[in-house]
Symmetry: C2
């Protein structure tokens, strides 16, 4: 890294995506060159290859759970990412920059159904064979209402995660409307801009809406996510462990903070492991290593190993930091896990940013 | 239940869905009335209300992991399903009845691009800002090839799980083509039949393809799933614990097999629990209960609790059966979990069907 060239930070694009906002939060543009890439795989590839010093990927959302595409790349079943590890986490509160439904501003002649027709107009066709049982309780109300009637909308573009965060609004106002998965919420907004029929909508961020305001995109509803406390957590990846993490840069004294002992509860680590398919007891054996070491497990996730059906790659997050660890607890637990797991891999340690 | 009326078994429809095939596997139509419903929620609602004695839902796929919609209903955050529990599991091997790409048989004039144009014709537009890094290794080959060129296809309908099971084929032959999530693979096939443009395809089962063969639907490719050992596991739900499970009916001596002691390793149970958000150590405490009781954990999954951000509902499966348990190990471990978890719920015990 020279004084002239800024370190490159790649992120899941396009510009104005939620990952972009999270990246800007920790990597200011005067110090870093920000590079949007198309897929989560591209973030892993670009960072592993050294074309970017850091890569930013979404890891989990408080409403919708794990981002399985990210977990699948951490599983690294083909050994493509031997050098990558997590060096920081970023929380992005999506309460203030909430998802929005968008519509193109050049609409064709619209037919607005009277309210009595609305229900049948938005009921999906061809369900004659199927039974929908009576509701035992009223459904949970969405947090917001549309600014205009949505009867014209025939199709909604968004990222699968965003659909999962807005189920109440969709169920209340857009029931039966076709949903189309696209690679990002910003891309969804662009597709709406490019559809001349005016019958498409998107779920995207306020930032993406602002970018397209002059190109005919109109906001149909604000704050449509199910929960006020809708938060996404992102991970910062690096391939070169000597590259200082973004948290390190926040320190004033110029020392390398990863060498300093930290309060164990203020740091976290990520580990993946597999257990022998024929010895299910090994899962409890691995987990008990953490208890024996006095390291708190904070979460567990799993994905298919794809080595044998219903064998899993497990991901555990726990309190503690591999290098800032005066008692050597983390190194010791990683060694113990190796004894009982079929395979295991430390995937990074970072400073806990949880509020 | 009278001798005249057959017990009703509802399942995630429509007719010819994978869940339908799994249901037929264990609930023959001469003994049961099979009832397709539209959503996973409908299966839970219909079974809880007593309108069906049993309900069949997909739980996990060996390639694509947990079915999060099913986990979310087991989490039962609103207490809608107090009486439901799992009484049996069904494995459906989807190797022989593999997903198929379908096309309508009344095509408009088709333009077949020469191979040199294919790449650009199927590359998604508007990615000028984004960088796709060079591949470090060749991608994994799909298991099959299309029977005809797929250049005409502009849109693919399927269930999200099916898209996740066919990533190699999609990436090799349908890169950049719009994917549309629909409620089932059978529904996807119907949408293709109903599209007069002939530019739509679906990923669905051989059974669904056969049903629509006379209505102009043509198979474009066979066996397009990523893995030969692609298997889905289904759960059978019941609200009335006195209703005999389908496994019980297989016994010849007429006794109630749930009262008989079984080999612990031949049965499994499902438990959900939450831990206090402020005491992450409780997760390890709960898991160590199983180790202390000598009950093997076979899998762990988690979903957001939606009580507080990044608090989870954990699901553990373990060997053992609540009622067929001479030593009372399972009842004891459930009691111990109650002491350390914030909340917990036994979600069923059944005979292991794993081959």
């Amino acid at each position: 890294m020279t004084a002239i060239k800024k370190p490159v930070v790649c992120f899941l694009g396009p510009v104005a995506s939620y990952t972009h906002q999270a990246t800007l939060d920790r990597f200011p543009e005067d110090k870093y060159e920000l590079l949007p890439v198309v897929t989560i795989k591209d973030v892993f590839d670009t960072t592993q290859s050294g074309r970017a010093t850091y890569g930013v990927v979404p890891f989990e959302n408080s409403t919708n759970g794990s981002v399985v595409f990210t977990l699948d790349h951490f599983a690294d079943r083909q050994g493509l990412y031997p050098d990558l590890s997590v060096c920081a986490e970023i929380y992005l509160d999506v309460h203030h920059s909430t998802p929005l439904a968008l519509r193109q501003h050049r609409p064709p002649p619209a037919i607005f159904f009277p309210p009595s027709l609305l229900a049948s107009a938005t009921t999906p066709p061809r369900r004659a064979n199927a039974l929908r049982p009576p509701r035992t309780r009223p459904p949970q109300e969405p947090r917001s209402r549309p600014l205009v009637p949505l009867t014209r909308i025939e199709r909604i573009y968004s990222h699968p995660q965003a659909f999962g965060q807005c189920t109440r609004f969709l169920s209340a106002y857009l029931k039966g409307v076709e949903t189309v998965d696209v690679s990002s919420t910003s891309r969804a907004a662009e597709l709406v801009r490019d559809d001349p029929s005016g019958t498409s909508a998107a779920i995207s961020s306020a930032a993406a809406a602002r970018l397209l305001r002059d190109q005919g995109v109109e906001v149909l509803a604000h704050n449509i996510e199910d929960r006020e406390d809708n938060t996404t957590r992102f991970f910062v990846l690096r391939a070169d462990s000597r590259a200082p993490g973004p948290d390190d840069l926040l320190l004033d004294d110029g020392s390398s903070p990863e060498q300093q002992p930290r309060d164990q509860q203020k740091t976290k680590s990520l580990l993946s492991f597999t257990v022998p398919h024929t010895a299910p007891g090994a899962l409890a054996d691995v987990l008990s290593c953490f208890r024996a070491a006095g390291l708190n497990l904070t979460s567990i996730a799993s994905r298919p190993s794809l080595e044998a059906p219903f064998q899993y790659v497990f991901f555990v997050e726990f309190e503690g930091h591999l290098s800032a660890d005066p008692e050597g607890k983390v190194a010791r637990v990683l060694e113990q896990v190796k004894q009982v797991a079929q395979g295991s891999r430390w995937l990074g340690s970072w400073v806990n940013q949880r509020r």
